[in-house]
Amino acid sequence: MDEKTIKSPQNIVYQKPRLMNDTPMHYCPGCGHSIVHKLVAEILDEMGIEEKTIGVCPVGCAVFAYRYLDIDWIEAAHGRAPACASALKRLWPEHLVFTYQGDGDLACIGTGETIQTLNRGENITVIFINNAIYGMTGGQMAPTTLMGMKTSTCPYGRQADLHGFPLKISDIAATLEGTCYVTRQAVNTVGNIARAKKAIRQAFENSLQGRGSSLVEIVSTCSAGWKMTPVQSNQWLTENMLPYYPLGDLKNIKD
């Protein structure tokens, strides 16, 4: 069978999702953000709900998410995406409203909005990319930076007396009455990507069915910030991030 015969449209088993456009993404090579963007686009397409979806972008690396996914987006101020999403969902109760936030945005400057929104049980999905560092601003310490991990603002490694401890925001979220689904996933392997996709899909369905707040944490890499190749970053993630941020559901209430 020749190449031309195989390369016919009916034989396509995987391609860039329809809702992801051709704009080259500004993310560094191998960035987990891009993979999660792709998952979101695939799920929205599969669910066929782009006409009733509103995304809320963060400040941080994903600040330009709106350039890549062809849905309506609101760019929130730093950390305030959950507040924006709360209002949107209440004003558009039939819509899917989700935020897409990084660790600095969600777990530091926006902790108040995050906790309050999840505690109110707003019927939204929060997608939380945890790569333990501030990527956009050039690799500073994040609330989720691991102990001993070096960043440009803790160049000798994170230490408790100077910087406090890495924040497990999903563990906190799981204790809140308003959340129905809190899960921690990763996109470092093909298998994990499939699981992460399933989790985001479930979160979106929860939001549409009004079951409460869903938080999907994605433990991810930042090869530029970590100063490693993308492949080394995935290894480092497995060896260092996952023991502290173990994968799996922290809470899953199915009515």
Partner: protein, 363 residues
């Protein structure tokens, strides 16, 4: 719903709550702070979500409130928030986002004495914060200053019209005395909230997904990496502001026809000044009042015209002289300009204004 009483004895704050429901607002998002908490309390009591479908949410902070109206307005809904001085300071984070993204939204600012936590008594010391753009960047907000409970109510309707027409945040700059005092208020008839279809037609720019299959995605963002593009956006905004200055100036005259001394005052200071003018006129002083109803756009032309035929202008404010600068600028100093004011929550009386103007002597 029409069986509801249409004439009520209300506080200024309560009137705003009633008006928001009746003018067909889609949502209110606010945080308690004295002296404006009655707005949220009244809305909670009236339960509009069961009647008109209006959303009411007590937010976790003023920062959250303003983000909620940024997102709500950005999605094409007609929304409002309210707060007082220190709370409005917190909102400055996102008012610039609303301005540059051209998001409609109403911010009711019920001023109290400042700076900082200050007092809970009435003040007008946030004039500059409201009119000069309290946040970052080259932007303006339309500012409406009510001087009665009735006007507080009516301005909620006017604000809706202006914010949707110009796609801009609008501030109602009330204060503790207008917010707390009770007066008769004639409430407007109910305007139904817009349907999704109406929103889709009227707000094709809104980020709500409606009709996405037949259009490009809508995005609300203030971020530009290209400085030339950012400047272009700024220049477009300035053009809009120039048109607003042409078309939306509002001011009220009181005995200005034969006046030799002109008081310029807004909001509660204007109300108090009217009492002083009545006293002074009985004593034979020809005093009149110009009350800017829109503080931005500011009635510059009217002030210049009046300054040209007055012997004196007296600016009366509940602050240390904030609008004073705008009056001086607008009048081009064509007559002497004096200032009478109190700050920190101290209210001026008509007697004090009358006495001070009498003492200023003949010119």
């Amino acid at each position: 719903m029409q069986k509801d009483n249409d004439i009520l004895l209300l506080k200024g704050n309560e009137a705003i709550a009633h008006a928001a429901i009746r003018y067909g607002y889609d949502g209110f998002f606010g945080y308690p702070i004295t002296p404006q908490s009655e707005i949220l309390e009244t809305l909670a009591l009236l339960k509009p979500w069961e009647t008109t479908g209006m959303v009411v949410l007590q937010s976790e902070s003023e920062v959250a409130s303003i983000n909620m109206i940024y997102a709500g307005g950005g999605s094409g809904k007609c929304v409002l928030t309210s707060s007082s001085s220190v709370g409005v300071s917190l909102m400055q984070e996102v008012i610039p986002y609303m301005a540059i993204c051209e998001v409609p939204g109403l911010i009711v600012s019920v001023q109290r004495g400042g700076p900082g936590l200050g007092t809970i008594q009435p003040s007008q010391s946030d004039y500059r914060q409201a009119t000069c753009g309290g946040g970052n960047g080259d932007y303006r907000t339309i500012v409406l200053a009510p001087c009665s409970v009735q006007e507080s109510c009516d301005m909620v309707g006017l604000a809706k019209e202006l914010m949707m027409k110009w796609r801009t945040p609008v501030i109602i700059l009330s204060d503790g005395s207008i917010g707390q005092m009770m007066e008769k208020c004639i409430l407007p008839p109910y305007t139904p909230r817009r349907t999704d279809e109406e929103i889709r037609r009227q707000c094709p720019w809104a980020t709500n997904g409606l009709g996405l299959k037949d259009r490009k995605p809508n995005v609300m963002t203030s971020l530009e990496l290209d400085q030339a593009l950012m400047e272009k956006r700024n220049r477009e905004l300035q053009k809009k502001y120039a048109r607003i200055q042409q078309e939306e100036v509002r001011a009220e005259h009181y005995h200005t026809e034969d006046a030799e001394t002109l008081i310029v005052a807004f909001g509660s200071a204007a109300r108090i000044s009217m009492g002083a003018i009545d006293n002074l006129r009985q004593q034979g002083h020809k005093v009149g009042l110009l009350r800017p109803v829109t503080l931005w756009p500011f009635p510059e032309k009217e002030i210049l015209e009046l300054a040209s035929r007055m012997k004196r202008i007296v600016v009366v404010e509940l602050n240390e002289g904030q609008m004073l600068r705008d009056v001086q600028w607008a009048s081009q100093f064509r007559c002497p300009i004096e200032f009478i004011g109190h700050s920190g929550g101290v209210i001026i009386t008509p007697d004090e204004i009358s006495r001070k103007i009498s003492e200023m002597g003949k010119l």
